[in-house]
């Protein structure tokens, strides 16, 4: 049995560095939160940071970087596509406020 490609990795030292980096991003998220930005800006900041974090986790922790590129190219576009299509529900969400039945 040959060693699978995924067995190759950068070693624990590197992962500890990534872990510290992730904790820093969490710290940034919290500090941004308490700067009391308008919700929309806060959301954008948090989402960007969350995607960054998630990307790092997928790439290094889940070893996607160390697999064949084909795996990443199969999985991620599918997920991104589905999530992108789900965004079609927002126009209705925004209409909800203006079209609510005014009961009082």
């Amino acid at each position: 049995m040959t060693t699978p490609e995924s067995a190759r990795g950068p070693g624990m030292k590197f992962f500890i560095a990534v872990w510290i980096g992730l904790m820093c991003i969490v710290g940034i998220e919290v500090s941004i939160t308490f700067r009391h930005l308008p919700p929309r800006e806060l959301l954008v900041c948090l989402l960007v940071l969350a995607f960054l974090e998630a990307g790092i986790a997928v790439w290094y922790f889940m070893h996607l970087k160390y697999e064949r590129a084909a795996l990443a190219w199969s999985l991620l576009p599918a997920l991104v596509f589905v999530v992108f299509m789900m965004d079609h529900i927002w126009p209705d969400a925004f209409r909800l406020l203006s079209m609510r039945l005014l009961s009082n």
Binding site: F81, V82, M85, H88, I89, P91, D92, A93, R95, L101
Partner: protein, 586 residues
């Protein structure tokens, strides 16, 4: 995590062999068996519904025994009609159209067609069947609970499905069971899809490159990718719906509702949200039902045309394109739902674009029929019938894809005709073709061709008599999901409904010929040889039925494209995929 298929030997006990079996062939047959039970129930329900639509005051003897409150004095109440309609839709869509062509045939033949001894995860495979079976039992239980079976349709639009008993009969425990059943079903399908993907990618025998996989294998593979992503949305949606019903949340129920003069405790939810989640799953689900059917027909057809299909790569591309586009179009179910009208255009265009790959596939089939010498058997007749009903059902999609026309045709019998043709009848035809074609392999006996041909003609003419008039009813504005037609403009249309009912009764009765044929052939049919149809793919390179590990310990090596018909081969006018001979191009 990984279970090697060969680690467990052939089981001997009855329970391990036929009930809790890990053998993909037994599981496939279990799925098909479950599908047949579901389709018989669903068909009887449709008979009852059709009878009621034709003669709404008709007493149907014995109906009172089935449900004393649903049919007092054997006359169906409107709520019982709607309950039967809901159960018919749910059983057919989930337990027949998803189970048989995809899970049933897929389980049986996908490993064999790629030359694997079993699925990648046999125990998980067994689990997904029994989870499906649990879902089935939970759904059937809804018939017998107080309050009756659910009545809000297979789409279960909130808030009718979410506010509980106060919104009328059929919205009690039965609806909760419906939500649970579908959630359980989603889990089973997810497990199944994982298994199919892993099997297709990892267990192909030597020489079985992706390009050499049969159409059916490709279709099952693409379908499992669709299912993997689509059922993942329905699962939380059903859980949230059940939470709305039992835990008092208001995800799908807005505030200020007054039902039967009572204020509802819910506030702030959105009914459109349920529709979005449901149809986000629901439209891919349509292709989960039809893609395996397309794959099966494309697989069977060349064996009887004795020539390869035109453009095999193009056809597979079409399947993939349809699968891809299926995620972009769900909003066409919601043109009149109060959705943002701008979104309608956004959903309409990809919907129309889907017709391009569908048309290409159809033209490829028709073009392939040209210049062939067809061997007419039940399987090939059902394949040809499939092409015809697929065209008839697909054409009406042009109308419904356009929001401006959908404003008129939405929720009329035009829609009923459209989806029954393209999703129901087409997929059922593929199932029949599959059974006539593969039963010799599955049980080792041939089916009776004479009975089969009677069955085909009655079914083929029958479905046209049932569903073609429905298009015209829809154009005349006949609203669907009505228990009776009492409106001034609907009452004159009742004779057409009576005609349809009679056609449905006859067509339904013809299915018992099939069932009889199936049972008779299982025990009395002539013994099948290894390759009765002189077909080329791997399932015909093993005994009928195949041994426990599919190939009796042989490791097959694939040398050929899957559909080498009409060539000079050592065995005749065809060359098996496993045959090492060199073949000259036609």
């Amino acid at each position: 995590m990984s279970e090697a298929a060969h680690q467990h030997g052939e089981p001997t006990g009855f329970i391990r062999k036929y009930i809790f079996s890990v053998d993909h062939k037994v599981i496939g047959l279990q799925y098909i068996g479950l599908g047949i039970v579901a389709v018989v129930i669903g068909m009887i329900l449709s008979w009852l519904m059709r009878l009621h639509l034709g003669w709404s005051t008709l007493a149907i003897p014995g109906l009172e025994k089935l449900s004393p409150t649903g049919a007092p004095a054997n006359v169906m109440t409107p709520e019982y009609y709607l309950s039967l309609m809901t159960m018919h839709g749910t059983l057919m869509v989930f337990f027949v159209l998803t189970n048989v062509p995809f899970a049933g045939f897929g389980n049986y033949f996908l490993p064999i067609q790629v030359g694997a001894p079993d699925m990648a995860f046999p125990r998980m495979n067994m689990m997904s069947f029994w989870v499906t079976f649990t879902a089935f039992l939970v759904l059937i239980a809804a018939f017998f609970v107080p309050g009756g079976p659910p009545l809000s349709g297979w789409t279960a639009y909130a808030p009718l499905s979410a506010v509980g008993e106060s919104s009328g009969p059929g919205e009690g425990l039965g609806q909760t069971l419906w939500g649970l059943s579908i959630a359980i079903f989603c889990v089973a399908q997810l497990l199944g899809a994982l298994n199919f993907i892993a099997t297709t990618l990892d267990l192909r025998t030597k020489g079985m490159s992706l390009a050499r996989m049969p159409f059916s294998t490709w279709a099952w593979f693409i379908t499992s990718v669709i299912g993997l992503l689509a059922f993942a949305v329905l699962l939380p949606a059903c859980i949230l719906l059940v939470l709305d019903r039992v835990a008092g949340t208001s995800f799908f129920v807005p505030g200020g509702l007054v039902i039967n003069d009572r204020m509802q405790p819910h506030t702030g939810g959105s009914p459109l949200l349920w529709q979005h989640l449901f149809w986000f799953f629901g439209h891919p689900e349509v292709y989960i039902a039809i893609l395996p059917a397309i794959g099966i027909v494309s697989h069977i057809l060349p064996a009887f045309l004795r020539k390869p299909l035109l453009g095999p790569r193009v056809l597979i591309g079409c399947l993939a394109a349809i699968g891809f586009l299926s995620y972009m179009v769900w909003g066409h179910h919601m043109f009149v739902s109060g959705m943002n009208p701008f979104s309608a255009i956004l959903f309409s265009v990809p919907t129309l674009v889907i017709t391009i790959p569908a048309t290409i596939a159809t033209l490829l089939w028709i073009g392939s029929v040209y210049g062939a010498r067809i061997r007419f058997s039940c399987a090939s007749l059902f394949c040809l019938g499939f092409i015809s009903v697929f065209i008839s059902g697909g054409i009406s999609g042009f109308f419904l894809a356009q929001p401006s026309i959908d404003t008129y045709l939405h929720a009329t019998y035009f829609v009923v005709a459209h989806f029954h043709f393209v999703m129901g009848v087409a997929a059922i035809f593929a199932m029949f073709a599959g059974i006539y074609f593969w039963l010799p392999k599955m049980v080792g006996r041939m089916m009776n061709e004479t009975l089969g041909k009677i069955h085909f003609w009655l079914t083929f003419v029958g479905v046209y008599c049932i569903f073609m008039p429905m298009h015209y009813l829809g154009l005349a504005g006949n609203v669907r999901r009505y228990a009776a037609f009492t409106d001034d403009f609907l009452a004159p249309l009742v004779p057409v409904h009576q005609f349809i009912t009679i056609a449905a009764l006859i067509t339904g009765a013809a299915q018992f010929i099939f069932l009889y044929n199936l049972v008779w052939s299982r025990f009395r049919g002539p013994k099948a040889t290894e390759n009765p149809w002189q077909a080329t793919s791997l399932e015909w390179s093993t005994t009928s039925p195949p041994p426990f590990d599919n190939f009796g310990g042989r490791q097959l090596v694939v040398h050929q494209e899957p559909y080498l018909y009409g060539v000079e081969g050592s065995a005749g006018d065809y060359v098996m995929q496993t045959s090492p001979e060199t073949v000259e191009a036609h």
